[in-house]
Symmetry: none
Subunit: 401 residues, 2 copies
Amino acid sequence: MMDLDLVASVARETPSKIILLVIDGLGGLPNSETGKSELDTACIPNLDQLAAESACGLIDPVFPGITPGSGPGHLALFGYDPVQNLVGRGVLEALGIDLELKPADVASRGNFCTLDKNGLITDRRAGRISTHESAPLCQLLDRIEVPGMRLSVHPVRDHRFVVIFQGSGINDGLTESDPQKLGVSPLEVKPLSPQAEATAQGVNVFIAQAKDALRCRDVANMILLRGFSRSPTLPTMKDRYRLKAAAIAAYPMYRGLAKLVGMEVLPMGNSFEEEVETLARHYGEHDFFYIHFKGADAAGEDGDFASKVQALEEVDSFIPKLRELNPDVFMITGDHSTPAVLAGHSWHPVPFLLCSQWASPDDVKELSERACASGALGRFPATHVLPLAMAHALKLTKFGA
Amino acid sequence: MMDLDLVASVARETPSKIILLVIDGLGGLPNSETGKSELDTACIPNLDQLAAESACGLIDPVFPGITPGSGPGHLALFGYDPVQNLVGRGVLEALGIDLELKPADVASRGNFCTLDKNGLITDRRAGRISTHESAPLCQLLDRIEVPGMRLSVHPVRDHRFVVIFQGSGINDGLTESDPQKLGVSPLEVKPLSPQAEATAQGVNVFIAQAKDALRCRDVANMILLRGFSRSPTLPTMKDRYRLKAAAIAAYPMYRGLAKLVGMEVLPMGNSFEEEVETLARHYGEHDFFYIHFKGADAAGEDGDFASKVQALEEVDSFIPKLRELNPDVFMITGDHSTPAVLAGHSWHPVPFLLCSQWASPDDVKELSERACASGALGRFPATHVLPLAMAHALKLTKFGA
């Protein structure tokens, strides 16, 4: 029996409530000028106070040294093996905009990009054109017809969209057309197995027609496709852990991840303030709440130390509102670290706190990488987060006689 | 997918450089008179300064409570499962003297020993006779012929040699002739399965003839064989982790271990000073350097607390020279602990430090068992060392979307 199967086997339904606040990209590294990380620098009295009242530790999202994408980072926190259950980017994006995927459908993430006159990529995100501008372009692409397959194009946000390929024999074993660098041409999509040859051919026809349809534009005059994938079949959190779980996330991809494990995605607007209000409004209806804060990761990815500090201060200001709900277990962590000095996701373990009447006390007095390293929970894999949450919410019965 | 396979799957080649200094037997225990361990006692300002600038932790070489031999201790540090890939002592010794083993060959470690007139062992190492004296004895044994097998005898160093047994049906499932204690007779070699019966018989014939050939001598008048083994087939570090790895080790066995994972063994003399010079001379040619310091383990094995302290002070004096190379990642640890008070390898976790621009800072100010216990890296299996090294050298790409 796998460890998480063991946890599932002793799960029981109770009225106790768990809130998991994921501060995306929470962990950081010191700024070379100050020697202080983003968390060290930020003025976050509410998070520090909560850390002082909590059991703290550091989590490894996937494995020490491994830098996770958002998919594995979140699935681990939800109690699913992030390596066994790898989710393609195309599927994530599709789920995030409420597309229903059939098991055979192949989803691909798409970007509008900009090519120069020689056909070389000058901007992989087409100046991050607005949804207002990109939506009609998606309609244009949606009209493309390719023999032997059905396809549909769906706007996501800004320069991003999803393409769904359907039809008998459609296969997701494809290389990507996005070279992930500038100054080169988009790549031809190639099959990874003979079974994927027809799909690769069809996708290349689609890309060629898309280029033709966009040819008169200065920006957003081409597309890049990546993350061809099919939806994995995961048991719901209800079936597996007996949790009635709800997700509150402004960004589509995170809603998509939550749907994958059967969470109910609560309808809401775009700000974190609305997320918190949504959680409060639906607090009676569920017993597990995943609430997602994006700002810290976005600033970290931009390499903007000051903005990440500001994002952390922003989320700090909402902590009292969340605490007012008085959940039996309140956990805060990230799906991965995004140190501003690295301007990207990283492998560094992520600060973690668990506040509960039944948590082991420790001497941690603030939420930071350094402080959490000496917390009572030590350093542990992110797949232990859900078991710990359920245990502290008294939702796990005794194992063995 | 196993964790280390996952790491291998995201490995990429970059010019960044990693140095792994293995201080053999690094970890220790307090002397009962002072309450201080060898590391606490030694004056090691360079190691302490490095620890202060590094992320620290404690590693379990194989598993908590398990005392590892040098084989598992090193293989784990090189990123290979030390239990799945157990290497026999005979194979290690053979590789360390540049013998090429075919997959079917069986290698055995040999000792010259001394028997009294009653045939009982009085010295398992024959007074550690010199290589000068033992090499001609090996030539003598090499001439022995045993029906049904080919054999060859190769001097290693001092009282130690290797016997290679070859032929169809040769089997390594054999008990050892070395009883590993004094005042008893050497043991008969027994087959561990019916398939090994013929080999056991042949080996016993060889031992009897060796005894006869040495019968006129006062010391080194008998041999002891142990560690009958075949070479495991391991992927190289180049194939598995895309690392161009080099080994610098004065002692044959450690060179043998490095060869097993495809490291290039750099030619050199016998002192640690020469090891450091060799590393510096070849620094441009590789991206992963394993450098081995033997003195701490040797003193610990002898139960000589003061000598182990001195050995640690010796290695400390070379740290500045290694730091001058300015590697992207500099790691120091041991393959196991060898507390002088136990006069042997032990199960205690081993201090570990990792110095890199991207390491998480912690409050550890010195290299010691106690200080490292509160380091940012926590306590972790030695198989995580290579993934951490590669991550901090930016040699691992993101996992999942």
